[in-house]
Every structure is written in C-alpha cells, then in structure tokens.
Symmetry: C2
C-alpha cells in the first residue's frame, strides 16, 4: 500500500501556486526546477489536476499553471482523488460468494460483505480527514516566512 509521489509533488506545487497567485501563471519549468523534479512527469500530474478543475492552465507564452479556485476551496481529498483516481484502496472482489454460500447462497449476499464494510469504514475516516483540510490550511500551518520568501525568490528567478 503506497501512495504515489505525485501526491506530495502536487500538494507542494499547489502550495507554491497559492503563494504566487498574484504573479500570474507559473510555467511547469519553474516548478520542476524549484523542487528539482522531473519536468515532464510533474507536468503529467498537474495536467491531471487541471482535468479535475483544481488547476487552470493557460497556454502560449507567459502561460503556465495557476490555481483554478481559492485555496480555501481546494481540499487535500480533491488533490488525492484527482491523482490516484476515485477508486477506493480496498476493493472487494466478493470472494465470499465462493466460500460461505457455495453455489446456492443468494439471499445472504444481498447485503454487502462484512469485511468490505469494515474496510470501507476506515477509508471513510481517512477521506473525511483529507476532505477537512484545505490548501489554505497548509498555508496557515507553514512557517510565517515561507510565503514571503517564496515570492521574493520567484520574482528574482522570473526577473
């Protein structure tokens, strides 16, 4: 059970984009250099966020990525599902059909599998927690100096 690195990359990217919101769209090149990440692959991930309506991409010169909505309205859940897909970590393949009921069983399987239900409950707790935190919260939790430092450093790079 592992969550792709793209999640970390994307969250940090969102955080940065949030801080640079006034500076206009940020090209992928800058973000990749910023965090020293593979440019093309990071792009792919951010494209996924764009398809999900979390980021907006402006093509052409002076284009790049930017937040599509206010940081308060982007939850971590949004980002995670955009990247990892809407699929739940635990997928019930209904093994039990084979086991407890045998070929006949019918009625017993109308209600969902107990194992799946238990897992689902845990996933819901996870999702709830993710949905409860926004990019704005991340900004607030970061050291006070980070925002300003990021803006300064970016301005210097962008000349």
């Amino acid at each position: 059970m592992h969550m792709g690195e793209g999640v970390e990359w994307s969250l940090h990217s969102c955080l940065t984009l949030a801080w640079l919101r006034d500076a206009g769209p940020v090209p992928i090149r800058r973000l990749a250099d910023w965090f020293d990440l593979p440019q093309e692959y990071l792009k792919k991930r951010l494209q996924a966020l764009t398809r999900a309506g979390i980021l907006a991409s402006t093509p052409g010169a002076r284009g790049g990525f930017s937040l599509a909505r206010a940081p308060e309205r982007i939850t971590l859940m949004d980002v995670v599902t955009a990247l990892e897909g809407p699929l739940e970590p635990f997928v019930c393949t209904e093994i039990r059909q084979q086991g407890y009921g045998g070929r006949g069983g019918g009625r017993e399987f109308a209600r969902p599998c107990g194992v799946a239900t238990a897992m689902r409950r845990a996933e819901l707790a996870w999702r709830r927690e993710l949905a409860g935190q926004t990019v704005a919260d991340l900004m607030a939790a970061a050291p006070a100096a980070s925002a300003e430092r990021t803006r300064r450093r970016y301005a210097r790079l962008a000349g």
Copy 2:
C-alpha cells in the same frame, strides 16, 4: 493507491479460521479451494500472518493454519500491517528542502513538513479505525447462519 488483494483474502481466511477453531488446524489446500484462490500465493500471505504472530502453523500431517489468539484480540490493523508492512502510505521525501528554503534554510526544517503532517493526520484516522475493529466484530456482523453453515460444510469436506 491500492491495497493488495491479499488483505481481503486474509481477512476472509481469518474469519473462516475463527469459525473453525474447534476443528483443529486447516490446511492451506482447503482454504484455497474454499475461496477459489491460488493456493501457493495465499500460502505466502498466511505465512506472513504467521510471522506476525496472528496465525499459528502446525507442520506435518493433519497440520495447517489456525488462529494464534482469540478473535477479539486480532484487529484489522494487525492484519493489514502484517501484510502491507509497517510503512505509511504517504512518504515524505522532503522535496520542500529544495524549494522554499534553498540551500541555506536550516532552522525552518526542524519541524516536520506541513504537507506530511496533514497526510499523517488522515492516516492516523484510518489506522485508528482499523485498530478499533477485530475479527470477533466481523464474526458478529456476519449473517447468523454463516458460522454454522461454514462448520457443516467444512465437516463434510474433511469428513
């Protein structure tokens, strides 16, 4: 983000073993037939549970797997960590070091990365939920007939 099928298999196996506790150790062959799963691979998974002290394995003829402790004392968390390893789904690779601080930053990174903290919080909620449910709870949640039916069917097979 996906959780291996072994988790589902193992939980159903534990449930079955719990019901068949009086019938002595259950050979892997039976379990695999039971759920129509690949025998050798299921064995691997159950061996992992054995190493974790959740199951006990008795070698030799009439051997097989059995619960190592009471169903009340086996949490879903135990099973999941035994199979997927103790590693957290989200791994922080500290890419921020590159980004916000640049080469100098030092002091700012003493406290953990905000993104990682947020993710950790969600994982904790997940773990807590998993740790709160035991195999005994699964037994209780299952349809009343399942236990007896399982025992009967097993007796017939082993007959």
